[in-house]
Subunit: 397 residues, 2 copies
């Protein structure tokens, strides 16, 4: 082609850089590698038999409708189930407040595109979910980050920031955040809502992991504290299976209407068959029991990782202690390069994700993201032990 | 919320108007209405049993992988099948030239977003597929249309247009176009490619209906005539079932790479399970036989509609004679209002789509889009008869 990339492609598209993490995840696929790198749920815990029965049922009972085009907002009975589920968590939703999406990633993308003009400011935690940063980049938005500690986003910093800078959207993952595994504590949640109201800035509450709390008391969802300003994303990716690609967006009716129009031009609707099958599944499946099983299992894996870190990591390392979700965030001793540790670990057959990619701007240190949900206890132990050796080697170098 | 729609939502989002067709399709859902309005394939022809068997197979054999996250480009074996299928039509594809999308609508959206900056010109046929126009609107692109006749886009007009106006993309649906049902003839195809090369403008070849040719010889696909400049969209929506939401984008490797990065931030990937099931289905399913069955059936429905139009329509009406696809395009006698015919038809229990929504700029007359794929022969006869009565009433008014 005569046209070069610069003249052919749009600015929004050129704003997207190929993700380094993607390359890492490819390396992690080598069969001899223990991957603590991805964010994958445990495939052996997928309710495959129940899912299979659900597909058989809808394809037997209503094949014509289940395989046909559907409405953009999503399949009614599935939305009713999600609405009832949210009610349990104190969130008042409704058919005019809920839109089915292709996983919660599409929720991030649709909300970003619906709200952000080029140059608009979106505020995130630092570090933050990489693919959300990518999505905001494709809106040509300016991402401004506020720091976080073990109790989540530093909302005081947010207040100061919004006092001097107009923002269009606040994005955060309040429960067992990706990459840190930390949770925004209750008092900061109320403060965050107060700040959002003060400056009239909508909040995008991304909650893929909330159901996976395996210890402690859950603070209220942001959407339970504020009806209008909070847009909440949920998904079955971590509770049923990611391969279904079913998520949802809850928000004020005016926002949901706008998102539905945008989704229609984006991909018409989410797969009818997957929605019908999910609805059929949830009609008879003991979702609470399944979630309880996941919580017990992930707690075991998480504790195995925390114990192994205690046992093997050299002095100067620090890590988060998650109450749920999939990740532990490991800070390296001062002066130790995450790149060196990463390379040395991969040579020892263990893959992790370097932390720098999750930061907006310069990282305040060296970090690694560790996943425990996708490995056995044995592999977690062995993976952490090899990682610790890699760390010691890197320290000596 | 304190923020008004104008301050809250992005320009790209406010550029999207709620589709009038959407409201019409809702009215068409009334059980007493014969709908010739939608663009739905015949649900009784979906290979539901074979699809069910395919889901059972993958969920039994490889549940962990089929329900897990997958790569953005799509499931390898499914892509291999599509590549082999395209080869039959003279298109040289390859794994680096193919990306799975959520139906071909997502192909339109991703290509638009990857190429079009606000204000950039995209050239379409006039009339054109409504949801493509919507998608380009959400890119804040300027849509400039060139006319068409029964042989498709007037490519001479395109040449003149591009001589005086720089365009970033040419969009068209060359086979059994939505809404007209017409096909771009072979000699215009070669001319179109020559023009695209002359001005270095990529062509988006949207071909959801090409497999549904029930008479005549198929001209070569644009992607078979030109390797680099043509981006081609395909889908299983009209051959297997729309509810799977599986489409694909074929193009030069540099374009596919860019689209994959964009899709990753958009929704990570298309549903793994649906892709695995489709691949398993196609391994054993006689796709050619199924397509031949669809062709025979749709030919019967199309001919029933053409015969009924011959029999019932008043003088001054004209309509297209499709060689495939789902639609007939009906031009009303001069001075007859499509709105009046539409209203009067709906009172008589038949729904159609007014043509004006498909035009860029002022329509050159009054038109209706009629669908024959989603009704029985009996309903087509009865629907066209009632529509003719509505027409005569509107003429008298």
């Amino acid at each position: 082609m005569n046209t070069s990339a610069e003249t052919m492609f749009s600015k929004r598209s050129m704003a997207l850089k190929p993700s380094a993490v993607r390359e890492i995840l490819k390396a992690a696929e080598r069969p001899d590698v223990i991957s603590l790198a991805g964010g994958l749920p445990a495939p052996e815990l997928f309710p495959a038999e129940a899912i299979s029965q659900a597909y058989i049922k809808v394809l037997n009972d209503k094949p014509g409708a289940a395989l046909q085009y559907g409405i953009t907002e999503g399949f009614g009975p599935l939305r009713e189930w999600i609405i009832a589920r949210m009610k349990k968590f104190g969130i008042k939703s409704g058919l005019d407040r809920l839109l089915i999406s292709n996983g919660s990633q599409q929720g991030i993308d649709l909300v970003g595109r619906a709200i952000l003009n080029p140059g608009d400011v979106v505020v995130t935690e630092n570090p933050a979910y990489l693919a959300a940063l990518q999505s905001f980049a494709s809106c040509e938005a300016e991402v401004v980050a506020v720091g976080s500690d073990d109790n989540g986003m530093l909302v005081d910093e947010l207040d100061e920031l919004l006092a001097r800078k107009r923002a269009k959207l606040i994005y955060l993952c309040p429960n067992f955040q990706n990459p840190k595994g930390t949770t925004l504590i209750a008092e900061r949640r109320q403060l965050l809502i107060d700040i959002a109201r003060k400056y009239s800035v909508p909040i995008l509450e991304d909650d893929p992991y909330g159901e996976l709390r395996f210890r402690g008391e859950a603070p209220k969802a942001l959407a339970a504290l504020e009806d209008e300003l909070v847009i909440r994303l949920g998904t079955f990716s971590k509770t049923l299976a990611p391969g279904l690609r079913i998520g949802w967006i809850h928000g004020a009716p005016s926002i949901i209407r706008r998102l539905a129009i945008l989704k229609q031009s984006t991909d018409l609707h989410t797969a009818t068959l997957a929605q019908w099958a999910a609805a059929a599944l949830l009609e008879t499946f003991d979702f609470d029991k399944h979630i309880a099983m996941l919580q017990v299992d992930y707690l075991r894996r998480c504790d195995a990782m925390l114990t192994a870190l205690d046992r093997h990591m050299p002095a100067g390392c620090k890590w988060t202690k998650p109450d749920g979700g999939l990740f532990v965030w490991l800070q390296l001793p001062e002066g130790v390069s995450e790149k060196k540790v990463f390379d040395s670990a991969l040579r020892r057959g263990v893959a992790v994700v370097p932390g720098s990619g999750f930061f907006v701007g310069k990282p305040p240190g060296s970090f690694l993201r560790l996943n425990y949900s996708n490995q056995t206890i044995e592999s977690i132990n062995s993976g952490v032990e090899r990682l610790a050796e890699a760390m010691k080697t890197a320290q000596r170098e």
